[in-house]
Point group: C2
Chain length 236, copies 2
Amino acid sequence: MNDDFSPEEKNGFYKAVFSRRDVRSHFTSEPIDEKVLSRILNAAHHAPSVGFSQPWNFILIKDKDTRKKVKESFDKERIRSSNLIDDPKRSKYLSLRLEGILDSAVNVCVTYDPSKFGPFVIGRSSIPETGIYSVCCAIQNLWLAARTEEIGVGWVSILSNDELKKILEIPEHVVPVAYLCLGHVTKFAEKPDLETAGWLSRLDLKDVVYYEKWNSSDDPQWRQIHEMIVSNLDYA
Amino acid sequence: MNDDFSPEEKNGFYKAVFSRRDVRSHFTSEPIDEKVLSRILNAAHHAPSVGFSQPWNFILIKDKDTRKKVKESFDKERIRSSNLIDDPKRSKYLSLRLEGILDSAVNVCVTYDPSKFGPFVIGRSSIPETGIYSVCCAIQNLWLAARTEEIGVGWVSILSNDELKKILEIPEHVVPVAYLCLGHVTKFAEKPDLETAGWLSRLDLKDVVYYEKWNSSDDPQWRQIHEMIVSNLDYA
């Protein structure tokens, strides 16, 4: 094969994966260069999609009034969510910084349009959700591309999609999948904010890998890889 | 910032994005090195997840009997889907190679477990689907990592999830999100198979980007990036 990856190229990919963060607190007001933003969007557009349906759209938002309305929806949903838990967890939740809607340079709403190239999309008949899964793959491409360009991304999921559809004039049949904040940052945190805050810990790889069937961590065919994952050393 | 990406590192990331393919036809029987597979899984495990919930599991499958059962589900669903369309589209659909379940070295079923760290997960109360979206981000990490390791991945979405849950003993509350085939390949195709087959074309980037609200392609604040995207040249 003539398109092997050099060690540095491969390293670049893994560096993006391991240093990508969900950014909320470290945005600066510096604008994003148009070429950079175009490259990031182009990477998103080159995600896989079921039946090559490319069912995504990207709504770029700078307007302050629009963002203020989105922020209001966040504020309402944040309070509503906090009422689902009791103190001390509730107070801790309310102390966390969870969005950068107004601080970031650009907001991007990523949507799913099931009518694109439809109604028959190859591979979408048995599991219709694969359409929306494709949009998520595009979001992850965007996120990683942004990281290589030193642009931070934060996904705001504490929002009312009904409100969002009204604010952005999104038609009934289209689903808002993600509301993202993009911008330059003062730094990328070493670890996820929720890990640093002691909210949750990162699971070990061995805890998320099964062999041959659900919940099976012991299979003779997989002993070598299992030992490697448990030792957490040799594969890095 | 001390963790900028070198041009070659950045290039490595974009190379993975643009040369990643949904592989069905070009698998070889060569086994995947355990270190390589561990690195790919570790990249998947470092995806973003709502509230740091890490709700994914990866079931690794080599067993031929298991795979044959999955292939049977594919065969049934393929015929069922084909009956949704008429000739000549139906014949074309049936002529396409859409899976590599038995040819690939390893199958991986990626699942979503909403009960992990639950029931309250930060950021999942307003839009519960964000849990499953996190799993899709992990899948895209896996797919790109595989590409940098010269491993092909094919996503089989023509399957019955009910059958899959029975075959892999997946409990009621867990959702199979993707069934992936991984293996070495004779080549990565230049373009998506469905594009080469003339089934659908790739959309232009300008057709998927809107400004400030749905369906708006003209906004004074965004004129510069719009011209760049339309000319399709300057940002690459």
